[in-house]
């Protein structure tokens, strides 16, 4: 049995990454925070199921991911405000240029199918191996690899469509214009 104090410290240390995962998955800060809270409650009530010595971060990410997926199925029919609210509240501390870039990138990210999005975030941002990501998503390693590849191709398509058709060659300047008016 792991002592509660060290367990709490370990969970605390994981919180920023857990929350970043939740925000990039859901695209909304308030929803992400609900996800994190629910994940913490579930984790602590099931702490006896955690095997000491295994990857705590992966365990927490798995809980959050499953929570997100089951909510996603429930809320599927709701109209999602993908472009608006979340981007505003998201990066208040970031510099102006970064904010615009993030906004554009996150919008593109939320257009990906959920299974591709989660695979790309886990491997490309959260720093999990393909094997760990496969465990978290409950699928085969090869499936994760192909999802990540498809996610990259799709993202490139989304970003280039916007850059070629909507934004023209001077993408940076145009991004500011469209970013400010939010379409």
């Amino acid at each position: 049995m792991v002592t509660e104090a060290s367990m709490r410290e370990n969970i605390l240390a994981t919180l920023p990454r857990l929350r970043a995962f939740a925000i990039s998955l859901s695209g909304k800060v308030d929803r992400a925070d609900d996800l994190v809270q629910e994940t913490l409650v579930r984790a602590l009530t099931n702490i006896n199921l955690f095997e000491p010595g295994t990857n705590l971060q992966a365990w927490l990410f798995t809980i959050l991911r499953n929570q997100f997926r089951s909510e996603y199925r429930k809320r599927r029919r709701e109209v999602e405000d993908v472009d608006g609210r979340f981007a505003e509240s998201l990066t208040t501390r970031a510099e102006q240029h970064s904010r615009l870039e993030f906004q554009e990138f996150l919008q593109a990210l939320t257009k990906l199918p959920t299974d591709q999005r989660e695979a790309l975030i886990l491997v490309g941002a959260s720093g999990f191996s393909y094997e760990e990501a496969a465990q978290i998503c409950g699928c085969a390693v090869g499936t994760v690899k192909s999802r990540v590849n498809r996610a990259r191709v799709r993202l490139a398509e989304i970003l280039s469509i916007e850059s070629a058709d909507d934004l023209g060659p001077d993408r940076e300047t145009q991004a500011i214009v469209t970013g400010a008016s939010s379409r």
Partner: protein
């Protein structure tokens, strides 16, 4: 209206130029750009302050565990 002048440290997006056909794999450069952007976004999120309610929640549950033990 022009906004503030953007500064882009080495993250030029020339994705349109290096896209494959409709189904191929991506060029290294495109993958790198996407990877960079993804990590930059994610790191910004990781560096945001975590709401106090989470640490409070952990402390509360921790205390409860301690009480249960004695």
């Amino acid at each position: 209206m022009k906004g503030p002048k953007p500064v882009s440290p080495g993250s030029k997006m020339n994705i349109a130029d290096s896209l494959p056909g409709s189904n191929g794999t991506l060029g290294r450069d495109v993958q790198d750009v996407i990877g960079e952007q993804l990590r930059a976004m994610y790191n910004d999120l990781v560096n945001q302050a975590v709401p106090d309610r989470f640490t409070e929640l952990l402390q509360r549950l921790d205390k409860r565990d301690d009480e249960g033990k004695h």
